[in-house]
Symmetry: C2
């Protein structure tokens, strides 16, 4: 069997590795535009800030690693057309026949049509070359004032990186608060204060209308002109679906796949940022576009290419980040989004400490849990705190994945030791708060 993967990113590379684990003989070919196989796009802000010393380090494995596993790589190669009748991919160099095709074409940074957005000094932060270009620009021009457009994860991580490099930073967000798809306003405001205390400023509910100077010297927000000598555009990503669309596959916001990750053509799968998945809470098709989702889709698609019939479960989009010394973890639906979707929820919220009161070094932590009113199931969580947010979001996410109810959390077993956590964990208390509201 000849399996061809288009895309050498996280989804494509992991697919190839999983597929090889499942079958020693199958021909596995990866077509990719870059010089290397997968690297970690989530790591780019940390290369920018200098926390990861070398850009090349974020390439997960050297090409030889894939060669040893007999994964054929056609790198620096662009797939131009899929001829589904002949089962052939036409690249800029060659024709590649396939038995099974896996689309892992990823996503690209979305750049809104702001006047002047093409000017020097305006960047996105999605690919390795973005970091190279930003680093060269910083070296050459030593910018002092940065504007970041968009207060999503990449925007905030980029803002922190700029701040850590010594710049004044202003984040401009069209919506009402930061991390608008991941957090509610009450929780976002905790993050905002934390970032403001560390010198990052915010403007919400407004957009940048123009970028002035070339290289950039300022941006315009309404009639106001704000000095800026570097601009990061972080307004989300869009699925790369052109190839799939031209091949006549079903597309909505991303490539449409069934629960086995097959597209409308049963010999073609789609995985990673380019493909839609099901939202575990709303049941709607969404673009998850998380690295973990890409890896998990790669695993399931590899199994299904070999006829294992594994279903890819709906996703909760469990996510974590660290901004300065604050951890932020989330999954599922926000209270704001639930309102829009008409889902009635019961919320429990608690601010506590990460350690028992008597143990030195505890840090504030706020836990917000969102339960469905009709069946009491945990459908969302937002946690912000100085440490051990990750563990709590992991625990709650695994509980939600197993359809835990408010009682399961309120009466659940936690792990306690004085240097690590309180006897009665903040997640337990938040669930108790919600439980009382159910009565």
């Amino acid at each position: 069997m000849k399996i061809v993967v288009i895309g050498s990113g996280t989804a494509g590379s992991n697919f190839a590795l999983f597929a090889r684990k499942l079958d020693r003989k199958a021909e596995i070919i990866v077509i990719g535009k870059e010089k290397t196989m997968q690297y970690s796009p989530c790591a780019l802000p940390f290369v920018l800030s200098g926390k990861i010393p070398k850009l090349e380090d974020i390439v997960v494995f050297p090409n030889e690693f894939y060669e040893k596993q007999k994964i054929q790589m056609m790198l620096e190669t662009e797939a131009k057309t899929i001829d589904r009748k002949r089962k052939v991919i036409i690249t800029d160099k060659d024709e590649v026949p396939y038995d099974k095709l896996v689309l892992a074409t990823g996503s690209k940074a979305f750049v809104p049509p702001i006047k002047g957005v093409e000017k020097r000094g305006v960047f996105t932060l999605k690919e390795m070359r973005d970091v190279r270009e930003i680093q060269e620009y910083i070296k050459e021009r030593k910018p002092k004032k940065a504007v970041v457009i968009g207060a999503g994860l990449i925007g905030l991580e980029g803002a922190v990186a700029f701040r850590e490099l010594g710049m004044e930073v202003l984040v401009v967000e069209l919506l009402e608060h930061l991390l608008p798809t991941m957090l509610d306003k009450d929780i976002a405001s905790i993050v905002q204060s934390h970032l403001e205390e560390r010198g990052i400023q915010f403007r919400f509910g407004v957009g940048v209308s123009e970028i002035i100077g070339d290289p950039v010297t300022a941006v315009k927000i309404g009639e106001e002109k704000i000095e800026s000598d570097i601009v990061l555009v972080a307004t989300g990503v869009r699925a790369n679906v052109d190839l799939a669309r031209e091949a006549g596959l079903e597309i909505k916001r991303g490539i449409v796949v069934d629960e086995y990750l097959r597209t409308s053509d049963p010999d073609i799968y789609a995985i990673g940022d380019c493909a839609e998945v099901y939202d575990a809470v709303t049941g709607e098709r969404i673009l998850s576009q998380l690295g973990t989702t890409a890896v998990r889709m790669a695993k399931v698609a590899a199994e299904n290419v070999f006829n294992k019939n594994v279903k890819f479960k709906p996703v909760f989009n469990t996510a974590i980040t660290e901004l300065f010394d604050l951890e932020i973890g989330t999954f599922g639906i926000t209270q704001e989004r639930a309102r829009k979707e008409g889902i009635e929820v019961v919320v429990g919220k608690f601010k506590g400490s990460t350690k028992p009161e008597y143990y030195p070094g505890g840090k504030p932590i706020t836990v917000k849990l969102i339960f469905r009113k009709d069946n009491k199931k945990l459908i969302g969580a937002q946690i912000v705190g100085g440490e051990r947010v990750w563990g709590r979001i992991m625990a709650l996410s695994f509980a939600a994945q197993k359809e835990a109810t408010v009682e399961d959390i309120a009466y659940g077993e936690t792990a306690y030791a004085p240097p690590i956590s309180p006897t009665i964990d903040p997640i337990t208390v938040a669930a108790e708060m919600a439980l009382r509201r159910f009565k």
Copy 2:
């Protein structure tokens, strides 16, 4: 209604607080031997090491806090007899009538009948006065060589405290490896190496037969005499059941309760270290004797005293500790114990890193997962690593509490960010290892 609680420790104090939340008017009386209400016994080793500066700090709330909640305290008072016919408790001072009685009599350190165990310089580490006595002894005699009898949690935490105070430390354990009820030998040996590198020595499969000198100057192991000027006996605890037994309640290793935490007398409940619970894996009655279990039993018993009919679920004994800079987390059954119980299991084990390879500061972590062969359910986990063990054991424990299978973990969603965790988490890989063995 007049509710009387015997025992002012974690279980008793929390019961009183939960009961007050549920009913503003009920008369709630706590009879306790100490001067204060609950303190955290788990914190004692950390007071000893100096990490918690003041012993008094580990008292969770001052007595005024309970007074404000109209919880009547009869402290420095010993309950002598329960007259179930008259529904009266006879104390060393008074008679106290009750409508509902809650036994929270706790546990005491078990001291094996070693020759000389009563001598000066031999201590347990179970109560506040133990720490006071050890600290006075250390101040007065400046011991240089410590022997710890027992390599359970308290033994190891005590050994670390002694080591941090500058002593040479030898731990003597009758069984084959450290933390014998929580870990298998393969995982225990990682912990052992870590402690040995930091100057703690071990002897396994042997016991101390005699304590020499008064104050102690040495211990005997077989015919061998080992110098020692302080000895900690940490050979477990025993449930305090005398009062319940004399009252004619059903007793096995602890006070027997049903799933509503009622004893064989429907007006008497038992909670915390003195009461038996059901083991979530074996279904057997066990003594859990964890602080978290005590609190959780207190909550359920409080609800049931007010006729809420809440069942106390079987326990996995989820636990965590930190020894120097190593975190150790466990729950459920070990592979060794499963063998003894005749439970067939499939194991997945993986050694990885706590962060992606490209991110500086990742630490080794070993994950061992134990699944039932017949139904694939997760029934045990052991994790040892330099950081973020707690989050992983919390996530896995919540998953197990919701009856997660090997697939649920292998395909589960985790939260990933470069500074925090790898894209493919070690728990996922360990589950994949096990999954392959099922096939």
